[in-house]
Amino acid sequence: MLTATPLSTDYLRPSPPDGRLDRMGWAVRDSATVAGRELLHIRRLPEKLLDVVIQPVILVLLFSYVFGSAIVLPGGGDYREFLMPGIFVQSVFFVGAGTAAAVSLDMTEGVIERFRALPMARSALVAGRTLADLLGVALSLAIMAGCGLAVGWRTHRGPAAAIAAFGLLLLVGYATSWLATWVGLLARTPEAATAVSMGVVIPLTFVANTFVPTAGMPTWLRTVADWNPISAAVEACRYLFGDPVVRADGAAAGWPLSHPVAATLCWTTLLIAVAAPMAVRRYR
């Protein structure tokens, strides 16, 4: 079964990284290896992408034709212009909900046990996953944008601003993915991970300016919605895509909505700064 030639050769025993830079280099390469594993999984089980691909299409059609037919925006303007940024942000969060369950399920697999005994960077397993997630988010955004264009959505501020909006959405997706990974690692079962993340994502994405302006809500709810970080992200996209009607009335809406891009950059960075180390620590 095994040929007689010697199996042990010294060149086959890599040594531990030499210095900080070497260590960081390996952390990046290990993350890429893990992300490659995730992409192979998608190639083998393309149905894993169903929720990333189909859900956005359904949401765009549902809201633009079913709800859009009845919703009249205060101050006028086309509902589809108003809607698309909201759906972009919500879908990014739905991808995160899926991540939490997937991470939780992944941890029950035998191969994780092997990873723990390998000299790979401790951060690589979670970092690699979030990297693969980012590609899922990008795919989902591309499909939604295509759908939106088909139903009449347009951007008005030129390509640079539109690209900035998608960049911001990817950042939101990346931050969400870290949070979801952390939740997935904390949950004892994949079912619990799904329950927790959907229980948070649904109210969080609806009690916001995602689908309707906050101006008509009861005062207390409006305050919650205006300070909801999701509202800032949606508002930032509306601003960058150039929705012609401005609805957040400046100071009355609070700082996040009057400075939506800065507010979104702040909370996503903060979320990554907290969730990433916590997730890595939890995996350890």
Binding site: M1, L2, T3, A4, P6, L7, S8, T9, D10, Y11, L12, R13, P14, S15, P16, P17, W26, R29, D30, T33, G36, R37, L40, H41, R44, L45, E109, G110, V111, I112, E113, R114, F115, R116, A117, L118, P119, M120, A124
Partner: protein, 319 residues
């Protein structure tokens, strides 16, 4: 070069109310094979998980390939290979992809990882199935790939957690051959098993654990000796002569001469000089005219030793 591959002292691990390891000591010299033998739930897998840096011990120390598993886990991980009873492979990847991924995560350069994967597939006769998803593999094939995955780098110490549990005899023998070849190349191996025959065939020294504690330790021969040693068996042709034969055996110095279930069979302890006793007993029985069917020396099997050592747990406590 290190001279002790695995050095465990006073290792303890508790899971809630359950004591998984209780003051465990053991050593595996470099280039040798140590077996940890014990029934299900004895603590074998917990021990392997601590030694491979997957779990942390509550107290005690463990050094693997010269490095402390708690304080220098990374150094240890660079020097070990692991193949486990959990069959840790990614089912959605092919055999080749699994090996290349693990090689990369061992920090082999990409080209070398690929070459090494091809090489291992060939050595383990997996080339034909190398490009199929591992979830389609049979049990024996998965075990072979799992073992190959533990050999991506040339490990100083290889951990095998119940490598043959659930395998058919053919696949088991094939795996034993691979392990023997590794040992002849100088790799130290720590092997856990519930099968005495496996420990006896592969290991230089055996540590028997049961109920989280080490209950015996030694070479296979030492373990046999410590438990009764060689016995003399005599079978008489005529059951009427059995009492006479027993009297003669006692006279020539065979201890503890007992009748067994068979009315014509007597077994007795053969003491310090078994062959001398055998010759003397044969002569005396013949001159007394007792006709024999069989007279022989028999070593206790390690299975008997194992069952005797672990017997105390098998009595069912009263309700």
């Amino acid at each position: 070069m290190i001279d002790v591959a695995v050095d465990v002292r006073g290792l303890c691990k508790q899971f809630g109310p359950v004591r998984a390891l209780d003051e465990v000591d053991m050593r595996v010299p470099a280039g040798s094979v140590g077996a940890v033998l014990g029934p299900n739930g004895a603590g074998k897998t917990t021990l392997v998980k601590i030694l491979t840096t997957v779990l942390k011990a509550d107290s005690g120390t463990a050094r693997v390939a010269g490095h402390d598993v708690a304080r220098a886990a990374e150094q240890v991980r660079y020097r070990i290979g692991v193949a486990g009873q959990q069959v840790a492979l990614d089912g959605l990847l092919t055999g080749r992809e699994n090996l290349v991924m693990i090689g990369r995560l061992h920090h082999l350069p990409a080209a070398l990882a690929r070459r090494r994967a091809d090489d291992l597939l060939e050595r383990f006769r997996l080339t034909r199935v190398g490009d199929r998803l591992t979830r389609t593999y049979s049990g024996g094939t998965r075990r072979r790939l799992d073992l190959a995955a533990g050999l991506l780098v040339a490990p100083m110490v290889l951990f095998l957690d119940e490598p043959t549990t659930g395998l058919d005899p053919g696949s088991r023998n094939a795996l034993w051959d691979v392990i023997a070849a590794l040992v002849s190349n100088g790799t130290a191996i720590l092997l856990t098993t519930q099968y005495m025959a496996e420990a006896e065939r592969l290991a230089d020294r055996i540590t028997v654990i049961d109920g989280a504690r080490v209950i015996a330790e030694g070479t296979p021969a030492e373990l046999k000796d410590s438990h009764g040693g060689t016995r003399l068996t005599v079978v008489v042709r005529d059951a009427g002569e059995v009492a006479e034969a027993r009297r003669i055996l006692r006279r020539v110095g065979a201890g503890d001469a007992r009748l067994s279930g068979d009315p014509r069979r007597i077994t007795a302890a053969a003491g310090g000089s078994p062959t001398g006793l055998l010759a003397l007993a044969a002569r005396e029985l013949e001159s007394a005219g007792v006709a024999l069917e069989e007279i022989a020396l028999r070593s206790p099997t390690l299975d008997e030793v194992f069952l005797a050592l672990t017997a105390r747990d098998r009595t069912v406590p009263p309700c």
